[in-house]
C-alpha cells in the first residue's frame, strides 16, 4: 500500500502540491487526471523519490520512503517517465535485462534470466529481442520499456503519461496490457492520463487534481461526472452514460 501524507512541494515560489494526502489501493489501476500543471507528474515523482518534497511523507508497505536505500526502493516501485529517449545502441533484450539491475547489480543469475524471458514473452517481444531499440516504432518501444519494468518485478508500477505519442490502437493495447498485468500478477498500477475516456474505460480508481490539490477520489463513474470535470478542466463538458460507463464529450463554443 502506498500512503501519501501531507505532501507539499514547490518549484521556486510556485506551489505545485499543497498538503496532498492520498492512499493508493493495492492491486488496482489508479488513474490520475487533471489539467497541465495540476501536479500529477510531481505527485508520481515524489512517490517514486525522483523528486524530493518540501514536507510530508510517503510510506510504501508501511515503510517511509525517505529512509530506504535506492536499490531497495527500486525493488518495490518502478516508474516510467513520459520521455524515454535512450540514445545508446542497445538491443531489446539488453534493455529488458537492465530491469534486473536492482536485484542483481548487473550480474545476471539464472533466476534473472527466467524473469527476463518471462517479461519478453508476456509482452510478445521474443521476435524483436535481438533488434536494436532505435529500429522500433513508438508503440513497440513503449512495450519494451514496460517489459523492462515487468522484469524489475516491483509490486508498484507508476507510469507518467504512458499513452503519449501512441495512436488509438497502441493506446488501447497498452491499457489492456496493464489490466492483464494487474489481473495476472496482482500488481498495483498508478498512471497519469490525459484522455478521460481512456481513464474511464480502463481504470478502477480515479484521482482528479487541480492546482496542486486533489479534488475528488473514487471509482471511475464517481469521478467522471459533470460537476467534477467542469471544475478540474474549467470547461463545459457533456457527460453521458453508455453501456454503464460514463463518457465525456467536449463543447464546441462556436455553436
Amino acid at each position: 500500500m502506498i500512503e501519501v501524507k501531507n505532501i507539499t512541494h514547490q518549484y521556486g515560489k510556485l506551489k505545485t502540491l499543497d498538503d496532498v494526502s492520498i492512499v493508493f489501493k493495492d492491486q488496482k489501476i489508479t488513474g490520475v487526471i487533471g489539467a497541465n500543471g495540476a501536479g500529477k507528474s510531481t505527485l508520481l515523482g515524489i512517490v517514486s523519490r525522483l523528486i524530493k518534497p518540501l514536507s510530508g511523507t510517503v510510506h510504501v508497505d508501511g515503510v517511509n520512503v525517505k529512509g530506504m536505500k535506492g536499490h531497495d526502493l527500486a525493488k518495490r516501485i518502478a516508474i516510467l517517465k513520459q520521455s524515454n529517449q535512450v540514445n545508446i545502441k542497445i538491443t531489446v533484450r539488453e534493455l529488458v535485462s537492465l530491469g534486473r539491475f536492482p536485484h542483481s547489480k548487473g550480474r545476471l543469475t539464472t533466476n534473472d534470466i527466467t524473469m527476463i524471458d518471462e517479461a519478453l514473452n508476456y509482452l510478445a517481444l521474443e521476435e524483436l529481442q535481438h533488434r536494436y531499440l532505435d529500429e522500433l516504432s513508438g508503440g513497440q518501444k513503449q512495450r519494451v520499456f514496460l517489459a523492462m519494468i515487468l522484469a524489475q518485478d516491483t509490486q508498484y508500477i507508476l507510469l507518467d503519461e504512458p499513452l503519449n505519442n501512441l495512436d488509438l490502437r497502441y493506446g488501447i493495447e497498452m491499457m489492456s496490457l496493464l489490466r492483464r498485468i494487474v489481473k495476472d500478477y496482482g500488481k498495483t498500477v498508478i498512471l497519469v492520463l490525459h484522455d478521460i475516456n481512456f481513464a474511464g474505460a480502463f481504470c478502477d480508481e480515479l484521482v482528479a487534481m487541480k492546482n496542486g490539490a486533489i479534488i475528488k477520489v473514487g471509482d471511475a463513474n464517481a469521478v467522471i461526472v459533470k460537476s467534477v470535470l467542469d471544475e478540474v478542466y474549467n470547461h463545459n463538458f457533456k457527460v453521458c452514460c453508455l453501456d454503464n460507463q460514463q463518457v465525456v464529450l467536449y463543447e464546441n463554443s462556436d455553436e
Binding site: 536505500k69 535506492g70 535512450v86 540514445n87 545508446i88 536494436y132
Partner: protein, 335 residues
C-alpha cells in the same frame, strides 16, 4: 550467439594490433641507428647506448599505455554522464586549466622554485589545483542546477577561454628564462616524457583505472538517463560526482605526462562503439583502451620514421578532428 563470436574476434584483432604497435615502437629506433650499430655491437659504449635507449623507450611505453588507458576511460565515462558522444573532458576546460595552473605557478613562485622544478611537487600541486577547480565548479553549478551538465559545459567553455587569455597575458610579462621554463612544462610530448614521474604515477593510475572500470555496470544503467537510472536504484547525483572526481584526477595525470590529447579519447571511444556495436561499458572500456594504444604507438612510430617533422599530438588532433566532423554531419546519431 553470433554476437559473441564477433566480439571475440574484435578483441583478438585489437590485442594483436596493440602488441604489434608496441613492438614496432620498441624497435623503430633501429631504423635510424642501424648504420651506427651494425658491426659495432661489441663496443662497450654502443652497448651502453642501446641499454639507455631501451630504458628510455620502456618509460615512454609505460607512459603511453597509462595515457591510453586513462584518456579512453575518462572520455567514455564523460560521454555517459553527458549523454553525448562528441564531448570529452577537454570540453570542461581541463586542458586550459592545466595550462593556466602552470603559468600561475611560474609567475607566482618564480621559475626556479622547488615546487616547479621538482616534478613530483609540481605534479601533486597542479593535480590538487585541478581537482579543486573541478569540485568548485561542481559545487557551484551542479548543485544549484540539479545536475545540469550542459550548463557545466558552458561554464567550461567560458573558463577555458578565460584561462587561455589569462595565461597569454601572464606569459607576455614573463622573463625569457621563465617563459622557456613554462614552455617545457606545458608543451609536454611523448618524446620528452619524464621517466621518474611515469613510474611514480603507476600505482595511482592502476588505482584510478580500476575505480573507473569497477563502476562499469552502474555506468551501463546511467547511460539510460537520470530518471531511468534512479528508477533502477542508482544514486545518480552521487555517482556522477564521484565519476567527475575520477575524471579530474585522471586528466591531471595524463596532461602532466603526455600533454593534452583530447581528440584521442573521442576517436577511440567512438571507434570502439562503432566496431563493437555494444552498449556495455565493460567492452567499451577495453576496446577503446586498445584502440588508443594502437593509435598512440603507430602514430609515434610514423612520426619517428618521418624524423620528427611534427608531434603526435598534432597528428592525433588532425585525425580526431576529421573524424569528429564526420560524426557531426552523419545522420545516425545513436551512440
Amino acid at each position: 550467439m553470433r554476437h559473441n563470436v564477433t566480439l571475440k574476434k574484435i578483441y583478438l584483432i585489437l590485442i594483436g594490433l596493440s602488441f604489434l604497435s608496441i613492438i614496432f615502437f620498441m624497435s623503430a629506433w633501429l631504423v635510424r641507428y642501424y648504420p651506427h650499430i651494425a658491426g659495432n655491437m661489441h663496443l662497450p659504449n654502443i652497448q651502453k647506448a642501446i641499454l639507455n635507449i631501451l630504458s628510455e623507450r620502456t618509460g615512454q611505453m609505460v607512459a603511453m599505455i597509462i595515457s591510453a588507458l586513462l584518456i579512453s576511460s575518462t572520455s567514455l565515462t564523460f560521454q555517459t554522464l553527458t549523454h553525448n558522444r562528441i564531448l570529452t573532458p577537454a570540453s570542461l576546460g581541463f586542458d586550459a586549466i592545466f595550462a593556466v595552473t602552470q603559468t600561475l605557478l611560474v609567475a607566482g613562485l618564480g621559475f626556479v622554485h622547488v615546487f616547479l622544478t621538482n616534478v613530483y611537487f609540481n605534479f601533486i600541486l597542479s593535480s590538487l589545483i585541478m581537482l579543486g577547480i573541478i569540485l568548485l565548479m561542481y559545487q557551484m553549478v551542479l548543485r544549484k542546477n540539479k545536475n545540469n551538465i550542459i550548463f557545466l559545459l558552458l561554464v567550461g567553455i567560458v573558463i577555458s577561454s578565460m584561462a587561455l587569455s589569462l595565461s597569454n597575458v601572464i606569459q607576455s610579462m614573463l622573463s625569457d628564462d621563465a617563459f622557456y621554463q613554462l614552455q617545457s612544462l606545458t608543451t609536454v610530448t611523448i618524446t620528452n616524457i619524464n621517466r621518474e614521474l611515469v613510474y611514480l604515477l603507476m600505482p595511482f593510475v592502476i588505482l584510478i583505472a580500476f575505480l573507473i572500470y569497477r563502476g562499469h555496470r552502474t555506468y551501463d544503467v546511467m547511460a539510460l538517463g537520470e530518471s531511468q537510472a534512479s528508477n533502477l536504484g542508482v544514486n545518480y547525483q552521487q555517482e556522477s560526482k564521484r565519476a567527475l572526481i575520477y575524471i579530474a584526477l585522471a586528466i591531471a595525470m595524463t596532461t602532466a605526462l603526455v600533454g593534452p590529447l583530447s581528440f584521442l579519447g573521442l576517436l577511440a571511444v567512438n571507434l570502439a562503439r562503432e566496431i563493437t556495436k555494444r552498449y556495455e561499458h565493460k567492452h567499451l572500456f577495453i576496446t577503446s583502451a586498445l584502440i588508443s594504444i594502437i593509435f598512440l604507438f603507430f602514430g609515434q612510430v610514423v612520426i619517428e620514421l618521418t624524423h620528427y617533422q611534427t608531434t603526435l599530438t598534432t597528428v592525433i588532433n588532425l585525425v580526431g578532428g576529421i573524424y569528429m566532423i564526420n560524426l557531426l554531419i552523419r545522420k545516425d546519431k545513436t551512440i
